[in-house]
């Protein structure tokens, strides 16, 4: 079945809501409109307005009410119209949801999914382009996933909905309609916590996730004659699939990390630091990073172009690293 990334997301929610009537959906304009990007298309008509709730503009309420539903046995999906607005529900995520089980000594689960469009490249400017994963990566009790393919978008969302812990699900809006993929008709899930080895290679490992995975794959292909690149798509950011990373680094001895979030304080720093800490002897060069420049995601095309990673910047970094 040929689907876009956003159709995959839509299918995942349809299937899970049909499978389990404890799954609910809350968010702004998720009902009548079917979502600002049509991610929730058809859901109101199919599941009714008790389970598909057009909320007021109240992100803190959305997350908090989701927690409240979850302790009563529901499994709410909570949409942020843009992931940027997660800042308005921040406290409910980091202090309410992430600590719920812990502060109750394990008495409860907190099966919520907070999802929404992240990422730049579409001239969304400061408040429609953000990549907030680093904030949540630093918060125990949460899980964070960021699919790069339609297959993963569907499989990870289904897993996230079934998961008993709060999951931040970051869907990249640049990919919504730009990728189309053949995925199985039959039921499948993608497990949380497992990276995908997108391409095997011997010379150098590139670790990426989300939208940049595609630029990395293209670079790897285009550079195939120069350097044999192994590509890891993390898929789950918290917790990291350390086993896959370790195996690859052990093999290649060189690592480039690519993400669209800003460099300083991005999760690439942690991954690099941990690789260097635990696999120091395996490294034949510094762990390098390609990430957005340390500024806000500016609106005007030349600015955004300058800020974000792209194939050219990736290629350049790979060359530099390969030459070590």
């Amino acid at each position: 079945m040929l689907v876009t990334y956003i159709q995959a997301i839509n299918q995942a929610m349809h299937e899970e809501m049909a499978r389990d009537d404890n799954v609910f959906l809350l968010g702004e304009d998720v009902g009548v409109l079917g979502g600002a990007f049509k991610a929730t298309d058809g859901m109101l008509a199919r599941f009714g307005n008790e389970r598909v709730v057009d909320t007021p503009i109240s992100e803190s309420l959305i997350v908090g009410a989701g927690v409240g539903m979850s302790i009563q046995g529901m499994r709410p999906i909570l949409e942020m119209q843009f992931i940027d607005f997660i800042s308005c529900g921040f406290d409910q995520i980091v202090n309410m949801a992430a600590t719920l089980r812990y502060r109750h000594g394990g008495q409860t689960a907190c099966p919520i999914v907070v999802r929404g469009p992240c990422g730049g490249g579409v001239h969304g400017g400061l408040y429609h382009s953000q990549n907030p994963e680093a904030w949540f990566f630093h918060v125990p009790g949460l899980k964070v996933v960021a699919p790069a393919t339609a297959y993963d978008a569907k499989g990870l969302l289904k897993s996230a909905i079934r998961d008993d812990d709060p999951v931040i699900y970051l869907e990249h809006k640049f990919l919504y309609r730009r990728i189309k993929e053949d995925i199985p008709e039959s039921e499948f899930v993608v497990p949380i916590g497992k990276a995908a080895l997108r391409k095997e290679g011997r010379d150098l490992t590139v670790i990426a996730y989300g939208s940049p995975v595609h630029a990395v794959m293209k670079a790897a292909k285009d550079m195939a004659k120069e350097v044999d690149i192994e590509v890891i798509d993390l898929r789950t950011l918290l917790p990291l699939d350390w086993k896959t990373i370790r195996a690859s680094v052990g093999k290649t001895g060189k690592v480039l990390i690519v993400h669209e979030a800003r460099r300083t304080g991005g999760i690439g720093g942690e991954i690099a630091a941990r690789i260097a800490e635990e696999l120091f002897e395996s490294l034949d060069g510094p762990v390098m990073r390609v990430a957005a420049r340390d500024t806000h995601n500016a609106f005007s095309a030349p600015l955004e172009e300058y800020i974000l990673p792209n194939q050219e910047k990736i290629t350049e970094a790979i060359r530099k690293l390969a030459s070590y």
Binding site: G64, Y102, H104, Q107, D165
Partner: protein, 323 residues
């Protein structure tokens, strides 16, 4: 109300007070490591609101609502263990005081972030409603917390969906040191209810009869599908904000005025006027609540402290091994 019930209510008022006093005493002795937020003086609110709740109703207590834990059925020993940071606390030592609730009795453990439980209470009530369960959620909050955005977002949503929730505001005239006139420009916070399309009620929070009547109506309304109520109970905390706070921002006169409206004594007066044998009721009750609190403390003291590595437990319901 029959005598049994009136005496039972008295028992709860006294148990809470005894428990609070004991915790304060333990704190003075340096036996409590976290903050202690005494609700002494506000017992009638939690007793009045919680007493007639059903086992499957939920309460979302505020930081000084130890009473709500007790009346709703939390085990006193485990509650005391929690306060001492012991493994048998509801939080297994992970957090202190009322941050770990008791789910088996429908008691939610709040975060510190004031007002943040209201959206959670509202989410629970949403489920009760759409599943057509005859249950209510009670969200307690201070008049100080009423200034938080979460309170607004929660009430607004509850109004839209006519949810079975009662918002109980314990207006004790101070948020820590900050008096009401610096917190809001209205006399009754409950006046906000109409802006959300539901009922606001104000009652004396030191008068058990008044609280029970108002709460009863509100709960009845919630169960009947008539939606939320904003129930404001005017009351007063005798102690400082926490046991460390000498509360010099208020006058002796003010304190004494409120002490003369003491909810426990007021109930004793009532029982006396009912011609019950108040002297023996008092003695009996004193013995009974002391014993409960003694036992709770003994249990808590006997409970072990958690061991270091337990700090890594209970983070995830389905942990993913990193490999």
């Amino acid at each position: 109300m029959d005598e049994r019930k009136e005496r039972e209510l008295y028992f709860w008022l006294r148990l809470i007070r005894e428990f609070e006093d004991r915790v304060s005493a333990l704190d003075k002795q340096g036996k409590v490591q976290g903050g202690v937020y005494s609700g002494k003086g506000q017992e009638a609110v939690t007793v009045g609101v919680c007493h007639d709740l059903r086992a499957d109703d939920w309460v979302f207590p505020l930081h000084r609502d130890l009473g709500a834990f007790l009346v709703k059925g939390a085990d006193p020993g485990r509650l005391m263990a929690q306060i001492l940071g012991k493994r048998d606390g509801f939080a297994k030592g992970k957090d202190s005081f009322l941050h770990g609730g008791d789910f088996s009795h429908g008691i939610f453990g709040a975060t510190s972030m004031l007002g943040a439980t209201l959206p959670v209470a509202v989410g629970s009530a949403y489920k009760f409603k759409v599943r057509k369960e005859d249950r209510v959620a009670i969200a307690f909050f201070g008049e100080g917390a009423s200034s938080r955005g979460d309170v607004h977002e929660a009430m607004n949503f509850a109004g839209v969906h006519k949810l079975p929730v009662v918002f109980v505001c314990e207006n004790n005239f101070y948020a820590y040191s900050t008096p009401n006139e610096l917190q809001f420009a209205v006399e009754d916070v409950a006046s906000r209810a109409q802006g959300y399309g539901f009922k606001g009620e104000v009652c004396s929070g030191n008068d058990l009869h008044a609280v029970m009547k108002a709460a009863g109506k509100a709960i009845h309304r919630a169960r009947g599908g008539e939606g939320p109520t904003f129930l404001e109970c005017k009351t007063y905390r005798y102690h400082g904000h926490s046991e460390h706070d000498r509360a010099t921002y208020r006058t002796e006169e003010e304190l004494v005025t409120w002490e003369s409206r003491d909810p426990v004594e007021r109930w004793e007066t009532y029982l006396g006027k009912r011609k019950y044998d108040i002297a023996s009721i008092k003695t009996e009750t004193t013995e009974r609540v002391r014993k409960i609190v003694d036992d709770a403390l003994a249990f808590a003291e006997g409970s072990p402290l958690p061991e270091g590595p337990e700090a890594m437990e209970d983070l995830y319901a389905t942990p993913v091994t990193e490999g």
